[in-house]
Symmetry: C2
Subunit: 378 residues, 2 copies
């Protein structure tokens, strides 16, 4: 019968991290619970939604936790409800005591709250991941490459594989992350400092976004393990499991060609705000597009939505070269693409009005490249 | 054909204030427009949802406006869309030019945006309010009394009059604001510095909440005018019109009695956080209540929701007097009541387990009094 006391703020933070894997509307009702395992050396909190699972450890020897364990055991508690209760407690610490089977008495200050829990046997067993040969990533690097690619993944389930990010390690060091929804694509490459076993997997972009939310900037590195259909990201206190997507990812390399006819260097913010204005007007029409005209090195943007109005705008450029061109596309894709691009300038290369165009950071080579498919008009 | 130039940020702020009266989902489609009247000495922006209307004036001689009017006229523009467009413009100022009937060309930096508007004749005529004999209020005082009462008004349309706040001026100086949803009541009294004509009106609490949002803290005083079924709050640049509710407001004075059996002074925050814990558990049961027990001067709170758990808590008091008592009520009413009460301490007076109890600020007399009806249990 569990019995421990703990610092309230510390406990709450660990609970809230774990809660990111828990949905109160899960099709499997028991997954709205948080699992609390109290063992001799600390507490493990577990949450899962079937796609991702988070285990969060609180060690007895972590001074900030103020953790004092008198008796061990395990219990399930309704996650949202339990966290709200903990957050409402009056004192800076709390006592957690199992008073009868699956029933908990919380004491804090003069407040005594009794909660009904559930038997831990009802919780599904999470798949295990073998933890040998970790690949070590800087957390910041992983979070950056997720931000650079996840937005380009599909949100529609019609081709499930496209809701994922394709992660590939070749030659033990060459890492590549790609996402595409078939209208646009984003690819980041990097060379790892530590080499590892080659892999080729697809992870749901939603799971990777959660990864970015769970691993704070205070966690410098994470170990990555792959086994079976699961990936595990692990820091000192957090284990984050995500299920891989099954199926073959399309060959995106063939989309990247090196010949182009027209090349322009823009100020990123300048182009982005012009596209945001264009989008306000194009958005009033279904499948509204913006038309970019390049004539004698001058670039202008044009939108015409007969019901609401039109935009005509000259866009400043930093460099232009190549042929004149007129091309139409959905400005949302360009806006999202520019948001993902952290550099002050962006290089856009066009082949023809009907071929995808590429975006690369003005200050970088080809390690981060994006591709947008134009819309054929008339 | 309208033609003016203006500072973008200044224009945007005036547009956003006016927009508070505009709903994009109004049953009368034309009310999703903002009306722009450009006259010789400035611009008037008008928005209305049928319940409230806002007129916002920008004077040519206001230096911050940077307003230069070349030609006058009036036009209607879709409010949300127009404001988004203005906010997206690249330069710090913009030119607004009517290029043909009900069609506007906005120029800012290198951006040219053409928008379709509507003929101003389509806009409904707003009721006029005679502006003689203003009652002058400090804005802060009005906003405080709205915050102290509006929450207690009903949100249900079954008795429309209870969705309002009852505002009464008697003896030219004695002002009273009351709201009740029949479960609780909140009443603020104050003696006006300037006397005015007596009145007795009911205004929708929702309109008064909008008043608080529209009149910023930089506006020191507002003039209040009543005429027909409308009230007008007016500052130098803003005229805010609200339609009154029709019908007789219930007599709430008879609810306030002066005899009581038990009186307790609490620390407001202390009581509020105990009630918030109680509410977390009581909320799990339909119509869940908290039971307050006063025994020998000690106060304790108890909730039992068989499905999820229970709370037992001793609540510290600052003073207690009178008889023992056990009373049950919906903790939400007490939480909202304590939120409205800005004083550090709260005095609660009980008559019996079945009679409403009153709350007054610990540091005030009876100028601000609230009343909560208990729930009969067993």
């Amino acid at each position: 019968m569990i019995n421990f006391s703990i610092n309230k703020a510390f406990f709450l933070q660990a609970l809230n991290t774990t809660k990111r894997a828990i949905s109160s509307k899960n099709a499997i009702p028991i997954l709205s619970s948080i699992k609390i395992d109290v063992h001799a050396t600390g507490i493990t909190l577990t949450g899962s939604n079937g796609q991702i699972s988070i285990e969060n450890s609180i060690a007895s020897n972590d001074e900030n936790a103020g953790l004092l364990i008198s008796e061990t055991g395990s219990i399930l508690l309704e996650a949202n409800f339990f966290i709200n209760i903990i957050s409402s407690l009056p004192d800076i610490s709390l006592d957690f005591k199992e008073i009868e089977h699956s029933q908990v008495l919380l004491t804090s200050g003069k407040s005594e709250i009794t909660l009904k829990g559930k038997d831990v046997e009802q919780y599904p067993r999470l798949q295990e991941v073998a933890t040998s040969n970790p690949l070590v990533f800087e957390t910041k690097v992983l979070k950056t490459l997720i931000a650079e690619t996840a937005f380009a993944a599909s949100t529609q389930e019609s081709r499930p594989i496209l809701t994922g990010i394709h992660l590939v390690l070749t030659e033990h060091k060459n890492f590549k992350a790609v996402a595409t929804d078939s209208h646009r694509m984003s690819q980041r490459k990097l060379v790892l400092e530590n080499s590892g076993d080659n892999f080729d997997v697809v992870l749901p972009s939603r799971s990777l976004r959660e990864f970015s939310a769970v691993f704070g900037d205070d966690i410098e590195t994470v170990e990555v393990f792959l086994s079976g259909s699961q990936i595990l990201f692990r820091s000192e206190t957090i284990s984050f499991y995500a299920r891989m997507l099954e199926g073959a990812y399309p060959d995106t390399d063939r989309l990247l060609v090196s010949d182009f006819e027209t090349e322009i260097l823009f100020d990123t913010n300048n182009l982005r705000s012009a596209m945001e204005r264009a989008h306000l007007i194009s958005n009033a029409t279904q499948n509204g597009t913006v038309k970019l005209e390049i004539v004698d090195g001058k670039v202008s943007a044009h939108v015409n939505s007969p019901e609401v109005g039109k935009v005509n705008e000259e866009i400043d450029t930093l460099e232009t070269s190549g042929n004149d061109l007129t091309i139409s596309f959905n400005p949302t894709y360009l806006i999202e693409s520019l948001k993902a691009l952290k550099s002050e300038t962006v290089r856009i290369r066009f082949i023809s009005p009907v071929r995808p165009f590429t975006l690369t950071p003005g200050d970088d080579g080809e390690n981060f490249i994006q591709l947008i498919t134009p819309v054929r008009t008339n």
